[in-house]
Symmetry: C2
Subunit: 187 residues, 2 copies
Amino acid sequence: MDVRTLCLGVLTLGDASGYEIKKKLEEEFAHFYDASFGSIYPALNKLQTEGMVDCTYEAQSKRPDKKVYNLTSEGRLALVKELSDHPSPDRIRSEFIVMMLFARLLPASHVSQVIDDRIASFEKSINKFQALCDGKNSGTSLFVSGYGVAIYETAMKYLQENRHLVEAEALLAQVQDNRINEFDAAD
Amino acid sequence: MDVRTLCLGVLTLGDASGYEIKKKLEEEFAHFYDASFGSIYPALNKLQTEGMVDCTYEAQSKRPDKKVYNLTSEGRLALVKELSDHPSPDRIRSEFIVMMLFARLLPASHVSQVIDDRIASFEKSINKFQALCDGKNSGTSLFVSGYGVAIYETAMKYLQENRHLVEAEALLAQVQDNRINEFDAAD
DNA sequence: TTATCCATGTAAGAAGTTACATGATTGA
DNA sequence: TCAATCATGTAACTTCTTACATGGATAA
């Protein structure tokens, strides 16, 4: 799955410009997939040459023209085919977790700060998903935003209840380092 | 954060070869970061030319030589500096979630199969993290594997309890498609 | 005998990000 | 006046994956 497929998918929800597709991704797919303009615009142009999408220009006063894309039947077929493969495993890239694993190398205060920030950002995500839940009628969107709420709530609660494990280790390592430094200083 | 940083991190746990670093990543960092040999070996070579790691050859009978790397003080410093930045938000790429969002385009049976598979794979992940929990003494590893258990358990439970939302929509769309096809056939 | 583990490496290519260019509009 | 929103696009660059090359040992 790539940005092209994602664009086709968004277009099943209605005609849209590249800019609108990007916005839709930020709202709807929040946290589960993202793409930049630098990948969306070329993808749409390529999809057009391949006949997967049609494009009509919408002139706008006081704004650049809008290129509104709509899915062709070939495009819809290609999307369904793409979605029919079994999904590859989720790919997660968490700098936060890596940092936690090496917490003993860092100042304890910094570790605490990072955890505080992470909890705050989880809270934001939960609110965002919650708002999405409330505004949604379709079963699938409800399912996905509910999934987001469930996972981020668990993650947040876990951090609150278990942060001491990491913080204790960071603190211990720091104390030991200081002791060594004191020994060094004493020499 | 990139593969280079990850290699430096693993080397704080003890000297290791590229191959061993890869294995360690698969065990310890499972699901939160991964890297292929094709990125690890070049990263280690570059780190060596930069003086971040030393390398000693270990001749092995009946096996190729092993290049065992160990962290230099510059390497440790660079790692700490890298980890001192605030971690960027987790990046998740979930084909599964995208597929759920477009479930209405797919055969209901296929959707059900995909959810079954996902539940099974979550179960595997939980067992893996659980085993990791049991085998670990350090607070940080316990924290991280516990985090994995908590999240995957939530995800699994959520799928079990809410899969009907997606399955119903896929089924409904399918029935409507069939109805249209019947109309078409009647013409 | 077939696959998997051990062990390192390279080269080609995919896929994306970042930064830039352009430029008016609107809200703080 | 400063930032953000709308709107599209390109080019350079980064980063990683995949596939290949090599080859003995071991387990099913």
